[in-house]
Subunit: 346 residues, 2 copies
DNA sequence: GGTCGGCACTGGAGCGTTCCAGCACGGCGC
DNA sequence: GCGCCGTGCTGGAACGCTCCAGTGCCGACC
């Protein structure tokens, strides 16, 4: 304890050499003992660890990373306005899932909010700067510039999105097309003939996939279907919903690409004097607490976002460790019928 | 481009020496140019930067940190079960606020979920390992062991909580006592005589402060007041509420220490056949989207969590840069009356 | 008794950057 | 003409750890 205080007193930080001296060995022996590798006797190992404890020494990660060891860090850059991020339950759950895996391995997450165009640069800095062992890439766009740029520099990464978007990277994905199909078939079974969808930004890969599936399945079932684009915010979601409800004939069911927009739509329906679900059915995506708190409760495509994050992290570790990891299909979202979907009034 | 590919091909990573060679100068000159310091001519500087661009070189942060420069990273460790974290809007908003500041300075956030007892160790590792320039400490407990341990090793940090909890650290805090007083006076003004409160864990510093203020103000106003302890989860919040409602006479108004518990209480009130706010008034804390989505909407103590996070980050930078930063009072939470508070039925 | 193998440990180079002392050179003042 | 200063740049040590090629020693085997 006294020694630690000394060190803090600006004298000089404790290094591996101090530990080695105290234990009466060379720095190399300390390294060996520290990483629990064969090469020192049990007695020496214990002596070294005791010395390290006594001095309160922690290896300097910058140095050890320079000398070639893992840094125990993975990176995540998110391209969303900071203000908006707090409102979206998705990311916090996703991050929580990632953390649940990192925690077990004593790893940390390096997080950064970026503008879309800066993301490549951030990952380059992190990777070439030796700050992360790998990254998780989210919100894949079509022909995403991150794919060629980052595979070009050899960054180990996992893509969260459909394999077709992932280029040479391993991906972890949910089968959006199948989920959309389930949603549409469900609404059709309830008797809806005019269905609409409010999607996330068109340039996102999964928006495109869902849109294509939505159109295809609706076509197959002979439904009237259309998609309007929004940006996941309550504001734009509400606006999109309003636009749809002004059309004649108006849709009797609307599917949303996240939960926040669906919640906003509840308010818009009230504005129009429409009762949910009698006059209008609403179906949310990314089921979170929100969907159970509203009145009526929102039917949703449930997706275990926490596990999704955890799976992405697990897969990233496999990639980092050089396992030839195949792309993984996470749970297919499944429909949870609640109070916002019903047969259309006739 | 070709060169970058070469580098990725496992040849050897590009270093400052490659850049120096290409520009026809020494590595020292590259450092000078890179950090925009006086010591090279404008022409040379441009030549060097061009060479760096051409080779796609980024300085290795491990090396530069070893050699004594800032690492552009701040740390945040959160002691909550991963599963629970996703449900709490507070942290994501707080982190978003932090990030909004970090972003402007091209800094990253190092995040880790921990068990309560591991947190000191994590910060030690980060600080002594040269991975962060400073940390933000949240969820301060009474006599928090982090305070002596981390001030002892010289970690630059900002405490989020009342200055009395912060020891030698600078703190950023909200005046919980004043806010509690406002809440209680408001309920008293509505005519409530029996009020209760569901608090967060008793060992948290701000719980204790709020409890003391709650008791004091209620005493001063001659109200019947009591506090029961929960843990911020919907589950325990609901349970605590149930316990309160079983007492006779039962309280006519309940204040909650976060929003999630207040939302859970809405359900419990329905169980008991009590109508909100006619039979029971509910007042939430940490106003988030949740409070506006329920029916009735929840009255809440609004607290701009995003700005709070931003302010904590700003203050941390001041501390890191050696400014003698004083503790800062963030916005005092203010009461937003919505649909869940009203005079008690008589 | 000599050789060989294996174990426990050491010494020193190397990782990529920064920082500091120092050098060369040109201009200016006296 | 000499000293002096300032500008623009270089060389090399230092940061703290790891890894690799030893070294010394002991026991086993022929």
């Amino acid at each position: 304890m006294a020694r630690q205080a000394d060190a803090a007193n600006g004298e000089r930080r404790t290094t591996i050499r101090d530990v080695a001296a105290l234990a009466g060995v060379s720095p190399s022996a300390v390294t060996i003992a520290l990483h629990d590798r064969p090469g020192v006797s049990a007695a020496t190992r214990e002596r070294i660890l005791a010395a390290a404890r006594e001095l309160g020494w922690r290896p300097n990660l910058a140095a050890s990373s320079l000398a070639g060891r893992r840094v125990h860090t993975v990176g995540l850059a998110i391209a969303r306005p900071a203000r908006l991020l707090g409102l979206e339950p998705f990311y916090m759950e996703f991050i929580s899932g990632i953390e649940s895996v990192l925690k077990r391995r004593s790893c940390s997450l390096l997080l950064r909010l970026v503008e879309t165009d800066d993301e490549v640069e951030v990952h380059r800095e992190w990777w070439q700067g030796g700050r992360v062992n790998g990254s998780i890439l989210v919100d894949l766009r079509r022909d995403d510039p991150r794919i060629p740029a980052l595979s070009g520099i050899g960054l180990p990464a996992v893509v969260v999105g459909h394999p077709s978007l992932a280029g040479p990277f391993t991906s972890v994905w949910t089968d959006d097309a199948a989920a959309v199909e389930e949603a549409v078939r469900y609404l059709a079974a309830l008797g809806h003939r005019r269905v609409a969808r409010v999607s996330g930004p068109a340039e996102l890969g999964h928006s495109a996939i869902r849109t294509a599936a939505f159109t295809a399945v609706a076509g197959e079932l002979g439904l009237d279907a259309r998609t309007v684009v929004a940006d996941f915010s309550a504001d734009q979601g509400g606006r999109a919903c309003r636009r749809l409800l002004l059309e004649t004939p108006r849709p009797t069911a609307i599917v949303f690409d996240n939960d926040v927009m669906a919640v906003a739509a509840l308010g818009v329906a009230a504005e129009f004097g429409l009762s949910v679900p009698a006059d209008l059915s609403l179906l949310a995506w990314d089921d979170s607490q929100l969907c159970q708190l509203t009145r009526p409760t929102l039917s949703a495509m449930r997706h275990d976002v926490f596990s999704f994050g955890a799976q992405a992290a697990e897969t990233l570790f496999a990639v980092i460790e050089g396992a030839p990891a195949d792309s993984q299909l996470a749970h297919v979202p499944s429909l949870i019928p609640r109070g916002s979907t019903a047969p259309p009034a006739n």
